[in-house]
């Protein structure tokens, strides 16, 4: 009886987001609207918090001493079964190929190029100023996600951004923000206790139209251990 009551009380409910959505929440990849809709439930739901703990453990991949021997043996066996595992990857490809005889590779590539140019032009012409989250409230809520959620800049910008902003992470005492070229060569970095960093003029001078730059933030705790890291975000200055 007790087990049944506790199970019913603590199982995910219909209000809980799907695993995929919860994963995007953890990665800081929900849109601001999705995040605003989902965060209140996730923050107070025991089942969702437990799922996030499992996801974090999966991502951390820390193996206890008493698990190491068994894990080594499992890995050895998996390598022995590689051909069966990779065999699965080949199956969908056969389906993809079935239409190819109808169109030559050269024509297919030409068509794809034209389509990409059309879509790219449409996207560029229709691009709007950066859509920053509307719920920015410096010093406000503390996110419990496994990654640092970046507020902006994201995407096309109408002017060179002046600052980087991100969501606070529970337990973080320091953040390192880095701006990089697309080949990940670092242009600039800063360590700060704040959740924003002003870009110095020398960096802003390198933000020229149509040039994509990357940025990323890492959160550290008091012992200098990495707590969370953001996804690699892109922004660029739109052509005038």
């Amino acid at each position: 009886m007790e087990h049944e009551i506790l199970s019913n009380a603590l199982q995910p409910s219909a209000d809980c987001p799907s695993l995929e959505e919860l994963g995007r929440f953890a990665d800081g990849a929900l849109t601001p609207a999705e995040r605003a809709r989902r965060a209140p439930h996730i923050e107070r739901c025991h089942a969702c918090q437990a799922e996030l703990a499992m996801l974090q453990a999966f991502a951390d991949a820390e193996i206890r001493a008493d698990e190491q021997a068994a894990v080594r043996e499992i890995v050895t066996e998996l390598r022995r079964r590689e051909h069966e595992i990779f065999g699965a990857a080949a199956a969908p490809e056969i389906r993809q190929r079935s239409w190819l005889p109808l169109v030559s590779v050269r024509h297919a590539l030409s068509l794809a190029t034209v389509l990409l140019l059309m879509v790219g032009s449409f996207y560029f012409l229709e691009s709007t100023p950066p859509r920053l989250p509307s719920d920015i409230s410096p010093g406000g809520e503390v996110t419990r996600s496994l990654t640092v959620a970046l507020r902006g800049p994201v995407g096309d910008q109408v002017e060179a951004p002046r600052r980087l902003e991100w969501q606070p992470v529970a337990g973080a005492v320091r953040y390192r923000a880095r701006v990089m070229e697309v080949d990940r060569r670092e242009l600039w970095s800063i360590d700060t206790g704040s959740t924003a960093a002003d870009l110095p003029p020398a960096v802003r001078a390198q933000i020229v139209p149509a040039k994509t730059l990357l940025w990323q933030v890492t959160a550290y705790d008091a012992s200098n251990a990495t707590l969370a890291e953001s996804r690699l975000e892109r922004f660029r200055l739109a052509r005038p």
């Binding site: 025991h46 437990a50 068994a70 499992i74």
Partner: protein, 193 residues
């Protein structure tokens, strides 16, 4: 030169899925995540042979579904979702076989008073009441252990590893403590209402 990220490896693979080069990208992904998946499967199954089969299924499913990876989350997160769904299927399959139903909850002795107190909640909105009483009476670790064990049917030693608990008896101690506190909270709640 910095190694390609998981997402970049998949993007490269998609450019020419049938080449030797793309096969190498898959192998890189596999080797990068094999220990993570192996450890996770071992924790959940508690059995090396079952973990091998589960891990193989997870990777086979992942590589067969790479086209469905939309890059809107990290590859690790996407792989986790596949692992969790595969494990849910496995649990459902085990529960359909009565003799293999999870029985580990029995490891922790159930005080009769807690059964009686919780039974009194049965006719009411037990879910919201239990959750509220947990919030009021349990600490964060106790809540997580309870949710993992009862809500996600996770074995106690798997919870100990997942949460990195370092006390002597791991998750079991938290379950015992949480249930004692919950028992008292339910009794108080019953007396008040």
């Amino acid at each position: 030169m910095e190694p390609l990220s998981d997402e970049e490896l998949i993007a490269q693979y998609r450019l020419a899925p049938s080449t030797d080069r793309s096969r190498q990208h898959l192998e890189t992904l596999f080797r990068r995540h094999q220990t993570r998946v192996a450890a996770w499967c071992f924790r959940f199954t508690g059995n090396r042979t079952a973990a091998e089969d589960l891990a193989q299924d997870i990777f086979a499913k992942a590589f067969a579904s790479l086209d469905a990876f939309r890059q809107d989350s990290k590859f690790t997160t996407w792989l986790y979702v596949i692992a969790r769904n595969r494990w849910r299927d496995e649990l459902r399959s085990r529960q359909a076989r009565p003799r293999e139903a999870p029985a580990e909850a029995m490891e922790v002795e159930e005080p009769a008073s807690l059964n009686a107190a919780l039974a009194a909640l049965d006719a009411r909105d037990a879910r919201s009441i239990v959750q509220r009483l947990m919030d009021e009476s349990l600490d964060e670790t106790e809540k997580q252990v309870m949710a993992l064990h009862y809500g996600h049917e996770m074995r106690l030693d798997a919870i100990t590893s997942t949460l990195g608990l370092t006390n002597a008896s791991g998750a079991k101690a938290y379950i015992v403590s949480a249930r004692r506190k919950l028992n008292a909270a339910v009794k108080r709640w019953n007396m008040k209402s």
